[in-house]
């Protein structure tokens, strides 16, 4: 043996260590990959050796290679070997490697449970620490279930180093195994007041993380946090608590009122910027939550805005960034206070830092009003011209569109201006957002009827100059705009001045270079234009123009008929045949215009994006039911049956070919037609009724006639600027007119002088230049306007939405009406196995102060309260704290006990009514010690387990549970958790479980999926009791 070790050490000297590996890689810069592959071969050899030192060294090198991007999961088993080394040095290497490359899919993880449990209970705190750190990175639902109890015990470890790690890791355990939250919560809460600041901070951290996702369950902790906030000096803890309050205040406005003062004090007193910033943030959150009820906090708002202004003006870019970030939160509820700092924010748009510019842009979004929209957009357009880098420019572009289109174009007073802005944006080079501009053009043209004439003219110009947009291949993102242009010109062609010219532009040979879907729109709309031209020349006999148009189409369309794109080809050949037929009719002097126009009659109304989803499922329709007989098993080896309809995942979208005979097809077609005819949501070919829906926000947009006295074109300026100029003039004119009316006596000249010093206009004074008729989007008639379709059902935090104030089924509760509420929990003591720990939570339910409580415990035959040294057998135990009304706190009792028993306890307590009067009350109750409280989760290997069963010392008994329909692993989890068992082995339909009582009795269970439990134990009375308790647990659910 000694010889082997010596040999191992000598071998080791010749192995490469991590440093050698790094050096080697640096020396082989040219053929790094080749060098590494030889290293990996060496590592594979090293891993085959028995010497753990060699293995650990190899695993350490693998961790380095993993960082370089090499998959090292093939060595997972070796990593587990190194983790189980008894030496801390190697164990640490193993756990580090595991934390870097293990994940839920790693199958060897299930081999680690017992090793980790052993490490967690190691006498060496660093073994425990390393195991906790590693586990925090790769904990799986199974590990969480099996180890939750062990970790919970560690939360009360004597060493703060372990306590804080155990507290932190609980959050990960909750995420993977939500059932553990409820029983662990009292202990977690108690850690908020741990004497060690590190543990306290960890507990605050975990509760903040929990509360952020489900704040309402943690409202009851607010007084405790409030106390911590006023007492703690640790900035980290303060920041976390203050952030937590930010999440809680929206749910409890009274809390917010209480917070304002201490937070304001902190803002004034602290020198730490991080703390100041979080205080301001939370004050903002408070103000937002109060804004509806309490208008009297303008001082606080002013303070926040003022502090933020200081941050924004600071030379430190980080503070500037955060200032803008917080400003955007105020903006939502108190836009007026922010708008006065518009200058500052516009200034930030010029900042060299992109992050800051983006933040400033965000702010602008909320700062626009009818009054300043044009001005702000003009400034942004200047930036678009200057901006370097397409990302930022694209960001600007989307922002401009967002700003203008927000809340149903609420701030746009002049849609001609908006169309011109959109047209200007099409000149942007290399943007990816062509489709965005296009959809805006379509949206405006469809929904604002008054603007159609203008829009059509602009679009016709765009089509005419299409070569400018498509000339450069790099700019092809923008050619999406032509899609919109072509459609608008076609659909609203009655507004075109010269449809013939546009038609010609749409049929140029160059068009064939555009993407297929755009060509398709071109072809279709060429037909619409054709109809318009025919109608124009309707009535003229032997119209030259009409026939020329037909000829034009017949000449140009064949180009599209040859298109590789099916859609284009199909539409082109269809229309070509139609035109040929029309030409024949024209030659016979038949009136065709009306009939051709009828092809494109009717108007399409916009449909809301969610409309399809909101169509209610008709009664009696079962979407999950089979339409056809399901195909036989053999046909669908690669696809799971049923999944096609049950799931909406794209991979299943491939349609299945089922063979149906012709008759059946014809019949179905008929049925479908019928259905469509009866379906109000199906867009029919017949002209739909011209429904105009009233938008909820439309009424307040005043309607004015178009001010035609305004000249439309000012030479020498970009288009949109003209509008800005005209708008300013128009407003001044209006104002002047108003003034004239108000003060008829004054002369016009004096009125003009006045405009320089007139105060800011109010929003209502600004009248739109256009008659705006914004058509809202259609929704199905009986759709419910719910907004929670956006929630992600896969959010792991959803499972943690547990009402922690509700009574816990597995802690026992006692309530003395109006006075005291007591929750207690009994657990075996890991440190001293002859004792159990009773944790008790007292909650003062009365309105008065509870002072000097005393526990009087009557020891029973087999259980004894552990009293302080020197105390007599009947002395009472003083509870070391006082309870203010409404608060709760914890205490521990140590009880030496051997088996099932009931301990009678009596509490003497003094109720302080006020300073003078007090009452004394005596409350009796009993603590029930169930026998599974004496079981301690103990790992057991399957071979030892088998031996134990073979030994024949155990007596058996069995139990059937009726009416249980929970998944098997849940069932196991429950037994593990509530009765302190651990899973030894699980084979398909059954699992073997083990636990040990504090007196060393073994309990073995065999649980089957048929929900029968066979139990064996060397103590028959314990056996019966355990089975009874398990039965009780499951009868409750």
């Amino acid at each position: 043996m000694a010889l082997k070790i010596v040999k191992g050490s000598i071998d080791r000297m010749f192995d490469k260590n991590l440093q050698d590996l790094v050096r080697g890689i640096r020396n082989h810069k040219d053929d790094e990959a080749k060098y590494i592959s030889t290293c990996i071969d060496e590592i594979k050899q090293e891993l085959k050796q028995d010497n753990i030192a060699v293995k650990a060294n190899a695993v350490c090198k693998l961790t380095y290679l993993q960082m370089l991007g090499y998959d090292v999961s093939w060595a997972a088993f070796n990593i587990v070997e190194v983790m189980s080394s008894s030496k801390f040095t190697y164990k640490r290497i193993g756990y580090l490697a595991a934390s870097q490359c293990f994940h839920e899919g790693t199958d060897v993880i299930m081999l680690t449970t017992n090793q980790i449990r052993k490490d967690l209970s190691s006498p060496n705190q660093y073994d425990t620490g390393v195991a906790l750190t590693g586990l925090s990175c790769f904990v799986t639902p199974d590990l969480a279930r099996d180890l939750a109890n062990d970790i919970m015990t560690l939360m009360s470890h004597t060493k703060p180093y372990i306590r804080k790690k155990a507290v932190l890791i609980m959050y990960k355990v909750f995420l993977k195994y939500p059932e553990s939250l409820r029983p662990a919560f009292p202990r977690l809460k108690e850690k908020l007041e741990d004497p060690d600041p590190g543990v306290q901070s960890a507990a605050v951290n975990v509760i903040c993380e929990l509360a952020r996702r489900n704040p309402k369950n943690y409202l009851s902790l607010a007084p405790l946090f409030f106390k911590l906030m006023t007492s703690s000096t640790n900035n980290w803890v303060l920041i976390k608590i203050i952030k937590l309050f930010g999440a809680l205040t929206p749910l409890e406005p009274r809390l917010g009122k209480k917070l304002i003062e201490p937070l304001t004090n902190l803002i004034h007193s602290t020198s730490a910027m991080s703390l100041l910033y979080e205080c301001v943030n939370t004050v903002i959150a408070v103000l937002i939550s109060l804004s509806s009820g309490m208008p009297n906090h303008s001082a606080s708002i002013q303070l926040c805005v003022q502090k933020l202004r200081i941050l924004i003006e600071d030379s430190d870019q980080n503070l500037k960034y955060l200032g803008l970030l917080a400003m955007s939160k105020i903006l939502k509820t108190h836009p007026k206070s922010v708008q006065s700092h518009k200058d500052l924010i516009l200034q930030c748009l010029d900042d060299k830092d992109e992050s800051i510019r983006l933040r400033a842009l965000d702010l602008l979004y909320g700062m626009v009003s009818k009054k300043n929209l044009m001005e702000i957009v003009k400034k942004l357009m200047l930036h678009v011209d200057k901006a370097e880098g397409t990302t930022y420019r694209d960001e600007l572009l989307t922002k401009i569109i967002d700003i203008c289109s927000q809340s149903n174009f609420q701030y746009i007073t002049n849609f001609e201006w908006y169309i011109s802005i959109l047209v200007e944006l099409t000149r942007l080079e290399g943007t990816r957002h062509g489709h965005l501009i296009a959809s805006q053009m379509l949206d405006v043209a469809i929904r604002v009827k008054a603007i159609r004439g203008f829009a059509v003219a602009q679009m016709a110009t765009l089509l005419d100059n299409a070569h400018l947009l498509t000339g450069n291949t790099q700019r092809n993102g923008i050619c999406e705009v032509l899609y919109a242009a072509a459609w608008i010109c076609g659909e609203f062609s009655e507004h075109l001045e010269d449809p013939m010219q546009t038609l010609e532009a749409m049929l140029r040979p160059k068009v064939a270079t555009l993407p297929g879907h755009i060509q398709a729109v071109y072809v279709q709309n060429a037909a619409k234009l054709f109809a318009t031209v025919l109608r124009k020349h309707d009535g003229e006999t032997e119209s030259q123009a009409a026939q020329e148009t037909s000829q034009l189409l017949i000449d140009r369309l064949p180009l599209f008929v040859q298109s590789a794109n099916l859609e284009v080809q199909e539409r082109a050949s269809c229309i070509l045949q139609l035109v040929k037929y029309i030409q024949k009719l024209q030659q016979k002097n038949v009136e065709v215009a009306e009939e051709v126009t009828a092809l494109f009659a009717g108007e399409l109304n916009p449909v809301a994006p969610k409309a399809q989803k909101k169509v209610p499922i008709p009664e009696g329709l079962d979407l999950d039911a089979w339409i056809n007989e399901p195909p036989s098993e053999s046909e669908s080896e690669d696809e799971k049956p049923k999944a096609v309809f049950a799931k909406e995942e794209p991979k299943h979208s491939r349609s299945r070919h089922t063979e149906v005979d012709e008759k059946e097809l014809a019949r179905r077609r008929e049925v479908r037609k019928q259905e469509q005819a009866n379906n109000p949501f199906y867009i029919k070919a017949s002209p739909s009724s011209q429904k105009v829906y009233d938008a909820p926000g439309v009424e307040h947009i005043p309607v004015v006639q178009i001010d035609l006295s305004v000249p439309l074109k000012v030479p020498g300026m970009p288009m949109s600027d003209q509008y800005l100029k005209l708008e300013v003039e128009r407003r001044q004119k209006e104002k002047a007119e108003r003034k004239k009316k108000e003060k008829k006596k004054k002369r016009e000249k004096r009125g003009k002088e006045r405009k320089a010093d007139s105060g800011p206009e109010s929003e209502e004074d600004i009248t739109p230049a256009h008659q705006v008729d914004i058509v809202t989007e259609e929704m199905p008639e009986n759709a419910l306007p719910s907004d929670d379709d956006d929630k992600d059902p896969n959010d792991p935090h959803k499972a943690l939405d547990i009402d922690l104030d509700k009574y816990v089924p597995y802690c026992r509760h006692l309530q003395f009406i109006h006075v005291l509420h007591i929750v207690y929990d009994i657990q075996g003591n890991h440190q001293d196995e002859s004792k159990v720990v009773v944790s008790v939570i007292f909650e003062n339910k009365s309105d008065s102060f509870l002072k000097s409580m005393e526990f009087n415990v009557l020891d029973s035959l087999n259980s004894k309260l552990q009293r302080p040294e020197g105390a007599g057998a009947h002395d009472s135990l003083t509870v070391p704290f006082q309870l203010p009304p409404g608060q709760d706190t914890h205490a521990f009792l140590f009880v030496s006990s051997v088996s099932v028993s009931i301990v009678a306890v009596c509490i003497d307590c003094f109720l302080m009514q006020s300073d003078e009067s007090s009452t004394h009350e005596k409350l009796d109750f009993k603590l029930h010690f169930t026998c599974t409280s004496y079981l301690i989760t103990t790992p057991c290997y399957s071979d030892a387990y088998a031996k134990l069963l073979e030994s024949g010392d155990l007596k058996g008994s069995s139990l059937r549970l009726e009416g249980i329909n929970m998944p098997f692993h849940h069932l196991l989890a429950r037994i593990c958790f509530h009765h302190h068992f651990s899973v030894v082995e699980r084979i398909d339909s059954c699992a073997s479980m083990y636990s040990r009582s504090i007196q060393g009795h073994h309990v073995c269970l065999l649980v089957k999926t048929t929900v029968s439990i066979d139990a064996k134990c060397d103590e028959p009375s314990l056996l019966g009791n355990v089975l009874d308790e398990i039965k009780q647990t499951f009868s409750k659910c």
Partner: protein, 158 residues
């Protein structure tokens, strides 16, 4: 929560990567490349916060970084962390490295990646801040190193 901690040099070579959420190795490399691309083009006098990493996280996440000589220290965090707090934490981490390695430089990180990991483990655990007091961190790291040394001595004596 902290989602990832990345340390790489001015050329984008990783010196330490620590993901608190699982990503396959090739994805990890892609994230490093993207992050490097985002961070490296920024001047030293702009702010230390960055939004818009597309591969990791999404809208709730932010990159918070510091640039020291040849190294970038990047933390990817969600909105539950205080931005300035994390900046302080990076500073604490770097100062701790400086104390443990005595005038830390890139070479220390290159050759002792494992040790850097062990130090980081005392600062951040499973994506949550464990300890911010530098003296406490250094003390725990040293105690563990001493333990390792004593084990090595046992080996040498055999």
């Amino acid at each position: 929560m902290i989602k990832a901690i990345l340390i790489f040099n001015n050329h984008g070579k990783p010196r330490l990567i620590r993901f608190y959420q699982y990503f396959a190795e090739d994805m990890q490399q892609q994230i490093i490349r993207e992050t490097f691309h985002l961070v490296s083009k920024r001047d030293d006098n702009v702010c230390n916060f960055l939004e818009g990493g597309s591969l990791i996280g999404g809208s709730d996440y932010k990159l918070i970084y510091r640039h020291y000589a040849t190294l970038y220290f990047v933390f990817c965090v969600d909105s539950s962390e205080s931005e300035l707090g994390i900046l302080d934490l990076i500073q604490v981490f770097v100062e701790t490295l400086d104390k443990c390695f005595e005038n830390v430089c890139e070479l220390d990180l290159i050759f002792h990646m494992d040790k850097v990991h062990y130090i980081l483990q005392e600062v951040v655990m499973g994506g949550m801040v464990l300890e911010t007091n530098m003296n406490e961190i250094v003390a725990q790291v040293e105690l563990q190193n001493r333990m390792e040394k004593s084990e090595v001595q046992v080996w040498a004596s055999i």
